[in-house]
């Protein structure tokens, strides 16, 4: 720190309005220590310390410095964070407030931005890296792309993600308001005040460190006071109103349908690496406000456009407006000798401020033949040299390219795109340029509205689609109104009327008084001609972040890219986090000139959310960790946990998968061992499954039975009270969508069960048919999935065990298969269903979920002598598959009819009403004999368990690609049968019983299996009827 803040100028009138020289702050950049002041941005502090090179460019690795003072900054993109966990990529140094201990690095450059090895490519390979370089060079051979990509990725990139967990928390806030004002420049403030004074609910947001926008560094007066004071007064009035929410450091990043706007509020980013702890709790680092506004006032202002000239990317090339900002806000004059190149009056302020801050203004190159206007006169009065009709055609540089050392100025013939006469070389260290202003239309474009060109302001303004976006009001510079007086008048005149249409009555508001300066007309210059043709001239950059040059755009048009969207994609102009803030208009102007079109004919590309990068934490909010997705537990969950169950996710449910036990050897059972033990227990003694997750829908009403007959494939008209029936449900295309047992509780009262995963969708399915097709049926549906806990007691000893606990007569004649009874179990009111998904004697005990745990525990209190064993979903799968019972969604995939599944027994062909799915079963396609049909597969090698999803072929010797005739849907090892077995779908499978099929695997092994019936165990179904 030999030269401490050598570019900070001494205090003076209008210099350093926002810094506090009594509060120095230490920070490090690329490992080197520096000092700035409170009120600095990281960018202004780096400039104050004379740090010219802040980064290396994306493609050519050229040294780059800070260019702009706000969100539009393309170069000074840094990696923030003193620790691994707080690493934050993609931070614009111009938007980052300085704080004590701030630690930042360049995102590009190795070993660092000052001494960059990759620049060899920029200097040596530069001429050989034309537009489309990567497309053209690495397109062949295709197999090498994975190798190329790794190299390219390493060379590219704008920062890196942290590899440790984020210590911070983030919030989401949902808001409604009458008027959302985006941008707090003078027009935004006036619009907010106008609306707020009448009581409307107003949110005013601004992305910068403080409110005021352009008024922060304006030397104008408003209502008779200096602009920064006026800002403070208005903000104070707004802050005192209950109906106003002020959000500073808050970027409106996306503007979505129906006036939904996302605001990213950075609450602690200006204070430290991570949010502070207060009272043992960490503050939220940032908030994402999800705002539904009735009206959106877009007061986002305009970005200054740089001119495109040779060498315009070398550090020392700056935006004119940014120069004023730094001088007036932070008392930083980023150089000694300035040459200004401009097309308009406004940029003259940079030269006037430069001189006021003690710098030398070498010359002002004004592209206009006869510059005139109040600002021009002030410059003349200050003795500045104005070179009319000319522009900086090239910024020259020192050998390393680290700083501008001169400007070549020539008269330019704009219409002819050439220079006139001789070239004068001026010695300087700074070139500031201004090619006019581009309204910030990004948010407007998010709504799908294409910006439209206005010749009178030389810029795109928010356009409109076939119909206006309701409640959207661009104002001020964002709408192309650069005269503050006119912008105020328009708001005063039209905002009340616009809001009155929505019933929001605004009192008239007098526009602020201001002094109006005479302005000379601006001229349209974008790409400054050079004495050499564009292709041979030193690089003239259009998009600094993506390293797109004027030559690249010319080449793209020569190579046949005519649509601006194609030019954008070929050159990468306006890509990524930049979103074309500085370069897009210049790029379009160049493309238009090359194509012999006007700019409106060429059009503009689309800007997309987000306007500036948002960190993932803010997007995620609290929806992470255990709040990422709800977990659903059954009433017996704690018991399963205590038994050491392994769990399986089924939708949001946590279901016991299997219950590994400790073996005599002291080791825990493997899943295979546990499942084998559980299977044997069910087949030989008795097991119990927590089946509470099955979907349960209570159906009531006089037409409930008719409804079931229409929605299920099978018949329901004869199902008596006390009986249950398996039902199959199809979509109207004839494909199976769900199945389950439905019980008749009373003549107009049924309980439907659905698959665990299908519960919500089936309820909606019932509702859509009832509400839209059959509203005349009187029937009501209620989800009771969570109300009932279900315990499936199954196995030869099930009756003996249950009889100890219930008052229901379990005699096989008194309580038959496919019936249900009401009574008590362990003293708790219960419904028992005698249905079976295992093929064994089964009783499904249903009790109110709140009383379930004592019942479950009672079963185990009496279960020892019967060998009661809890089993999980894996055992359930093995047992049901042994019986050939399908799982919808596993053995079916939305292309299986009941007939494909061999379930004709479950189809009521003669039911009177044309039930859902019936018509489709007579289509020619569903009648094909070579449809994939459900069969069993028995591997010839008993040890083999086929892979689920494995493809089936008839001839393993055929050439690849083989003709695939089906695939395995379920496959397990059966401890009961002592061999592997599978369910599969095979083309024409029902007629292939006894044939051999082949399953070639990726590792070269081909399995052989015999096509068999899908029922492997107890084919006559005798065991469930014990």
């Amino acid at each position: 720190m030999s030269e401490l803040q050598q570019r900070r100028v001494a205090a003076g009138a209008g210099l350093g309005l926002e810094i506090d020289r009594d509060r120095p702050l230490a920070f490090t950049f690329n490992g080197k220590a520096y000092q700035g002041y409170a009120g600095d941005t990281l960018a202004s502090a780096l400039l104050a310390n004379g740090v010219d090179v802040v980064n290396r460019s994306f493609k050519y690795s050229r040294p780059r410095g800070v260019v702009a003072a706000g969100a539009e900054e393309p170069n000074a993109i840094v990696q923030l964070g003193a620790s691994e966990a707080t690493q934050t990529p993609n931070v614009r140094a111009t938007q980052q407030a300085l704080y004590e201990g701030l630690t930042a690095r360049s995102t590009n450059g190795w070993p660092d931005a000052q001494r960059d090895m990759m620049s060899l490519i920029g200097k040596v390979g530069g001429p050989f890296m034309p537009v489309g370089f990567y497309y053209k060079t690495f397109k062949a051979p295709a197999s090498m792309w994975l190798t190329y990509e790794k190299m390219i990725r390493k060379a590219a990139g704008l920062g890196r993600a942290p590899s440790e967990g984020d210590p911070d928390i983030y919030d989401h806030v949902h808001r409604h308001c009458d008027v959302l004002v985006i941008g707090s420049g003078p027009t935004g403030l006036f619009a907010a005040l106008t609306a707020a004074k009448s009581g409307a609910r107003v949110i005013l947001c601004d992305e910068q460190e403080r409110f005021g926008g352009s008024a922060r560094d304006s030397d104008e007066t408003l209502d008779g006071v200096p602009a920064p004071h006026w800002v403070a007064q208005i903000v104070e009035r707004l802050a005192a109103m209950d109906n106003v929410t002020l959000l500073v450091r808050t970027t409106a990043n996306g503007y979505f349908d129906h006036n939904f706007v996302t605001l990213h509020e950075r609450r602690t980013e200006h204070l430290g690496d991570s949010a502070a702890m207060t009272g043992g709790r960490r503050q939220a680092r940032s908030r994402l406000h999800r705002v539904r506004a009735r009206h959106v006032v877009l007061a986002t202002g305009a970005h200054e456009r740089p001119l495109v000239y040779a060498g315009n990317d070398v550090p020392g090339n700056l935006l004119a407006g940014a120069v004023s900002s730094w001088i007036r806000r932070q008392a930083v004059r980023p150089g000694e000798r300035l040459v200004l190149s401009t097309t308009n009056d406004t940029a003259y302020r940079a030269a006037l401020d430069w001189q006021a801050a003690g710098g030398e203004v070498v010359a002002i190159a004004d592209a206009r033949a006869n510059p005139e206007g109040a600002m021009v006169e002030r410059a003349r009065a200050a003795g500045m040299r104005i070179i009319a009709g000319s522009a900086v055609i090239e910024a020259t540089t020192d050998r390393k390219g680290h700083r501008v050392n001169g400007a070549r100025v020539a008269a330019v013939d704009i219409a002819g795109h050439r220079i006139d006469g001789s070239i004068e070389t001026l010695v300087c260290d700074t070139v500031a340029s201004s090619g006019g202003y581009s309204p910030v239309v990004h948010l407007a474009a998010h709504t799908g509205v294409r910006p439209v060109w206005r010749d009178d302001i030389l810029g795109f303004v928010p356009g409109q689609t076939v119909a206006p976006v309701k409640g959207f009001h661009p104002v001020g510079a964002a709408a192309g109104v650069y005269s503050l007086g006119m912008a105020f008048d328009a708001i005063a005149e039209h905002l009340p009327a616009a809001l009155a249409a929505d019933g929001i009555a605004l009192a008239p508001s007098a526009p602020p008084q201001l002094e109006t300066l005479a302005q000379g007309e601006a001229v349209g210059l974008y790409h400054v001609p050079h004495d050499k043709p564009t292709m041979r001239a030193p690089k003239q950059f259009v998009d600094l972040q993506n390293d797109v040059t004027a030559a690249a755009i010319e080449l793209a048009t020569i190579e046949g890219f005519e649509s601006i969207e194609h030019v954008k994609r070929y050159t990468a102009m306006g890509f990524g986090t930049d979103q074309g803030k500085l370069g897009n208009i210049n790029g379009m102007a160049i493309a238009a000139r090359c194509l012999g079109q006007t700019i409106p004919e060429t059009g503009t590309t689309v800007f997309r959310p987000n306007y500036t990068p948002v960190n993932f934490g803010a997007i995620v909010g609290r929806h992470c960790g255990e709040l990422f997705d709800p977990e659903r537990y059954t009433a017996m969950h704690q018991w399963h946990v205590e038994q050491g169950a392994a769990f399986e996710d089924v939708g949001q449910w946590k279901r016991p998968w299997y219950y590994p036990r400790q073996k005599a050897s002291g080791e825990r059972e493997t899943m295979h061992e546990a499942v084998a033990r559980e299977c044997r227990a069910v087949r030989e003694q008795v097991g119990v499954l927590d089946a509470s997750t099955l979907g349960k829908i209570d159906i009531q009403g006089p037409d409930a039975r008719e409804f079931l007959g229409r929605i299920y494939t099978n018949g329901w008209e004869k199902l008596a009270v006390g009986k249950a029936r398996y039902g199959l449900m199809c979509k109207d295309d004839g494909m199976v969508m769900d199945d389950g047992v439905t019980t008749c509780l009373a003549d107009n009262h049924f309980l439907m069960t659905t698959t665990t995963g299908g519960a919500a969708a089936i309820l909606e399915w019932l509702e859509i048919w009832h509400q839209t097709e059959w509203p005349e049926l009187e029937v009501y549906f209620t989800s009771v999935t969570d109300h009932w806990a279900t315990m499936t007691l199954t196995g030869p000893e099930a009756r003996n065990l249950l009889s100890e606990l219930t008052d229901i007569d379990l005699d096989r004649e008194a309580f038959k298969f496919m019936e249900w009874r009401e009574g008590t179990v362990a003293g708790v009111p219960a419904r028992i269903y005698r249905i079976s998904f295992t093929g064994e004697l089964s009783f499904e005990i249903n009790v109110q979920a709140n009383y379930a745990m004592p019942v479950w525990e009672a079963l185990f209190a009496h279960g020892d002598q019967y060998g009661l064993t809890p089993y999980g979903t894996e055992t359930m799968h093995v047992l049901r598959a042994e019986k050939g019972f399908i799982i919808v969604g596993q053995d079916t995939d939305g292309s299986m009819t009941p007939e494909d599944l061999g379930m004709q027994w479950c189809v009521g062909y003669n039911k009177p009403y044309p039930w859902i799915g019936k018509r489709a079963l007579t289509r020619s396609d569903t009648r094909r004999e070579d449809r994939k049909q459900l069969v069993g597969l028995k591997p010839l090698d008993a040890e083999v368990v086929l892979e689920e999803g494995a493809q089936i072929v008839l001839d393993p010797k055929q050439a690849i690609p083989m003709r695939m005739v089906g695939h395995v849907t379920s496959s397990y090892y059966s401890p009961t049968l002592d061999h592997g077995f599978a369910l599969a779908v095979v083309k024409g499978g029902h007629k292939r019983l006894g044939e051999r099929v082949y399953l070639p695997m990726a590792d070269g092994v081909t399995h052989v299996a015999e096509v068999v019936s899908s029922i492997f165990f107890d084919p006559k179904g005798q065991r469930q009827n014990l």
Partner: protein
Amino acid sequence: MFYIYCPYCAEYREEEEFHPKGQAHIARPLDPMATSDDAWGDYLFFRDNPRGVHHELWVHAVGCRKFFNVTRDTRTYAILETYRIGEQPSVTADSVSTGSAASTATLTGVQA
């Protein structure tokens, strides 16, 4: 993110409460078995994809669970009306004049 007026709840709610269910007014043929394969295929699979006014079926999935209809402009995503099942739309492609787009530029103070 739409802001949708549920005609049953009589309130505007966020899109997250709703599910879209495709084109509205798709009636199931009353006598499916007498419907040709082609006509049945049309009913099952073929839907309009207009540029402009479109009638859609939505359900207030985590609200009142009622299905209702939405008339939406597919160009602007503006919702022109919502109405109950069994009712007919009052805004249709025929009723909407597409020729005259109103100006949004009132607040700019610059009228074309």
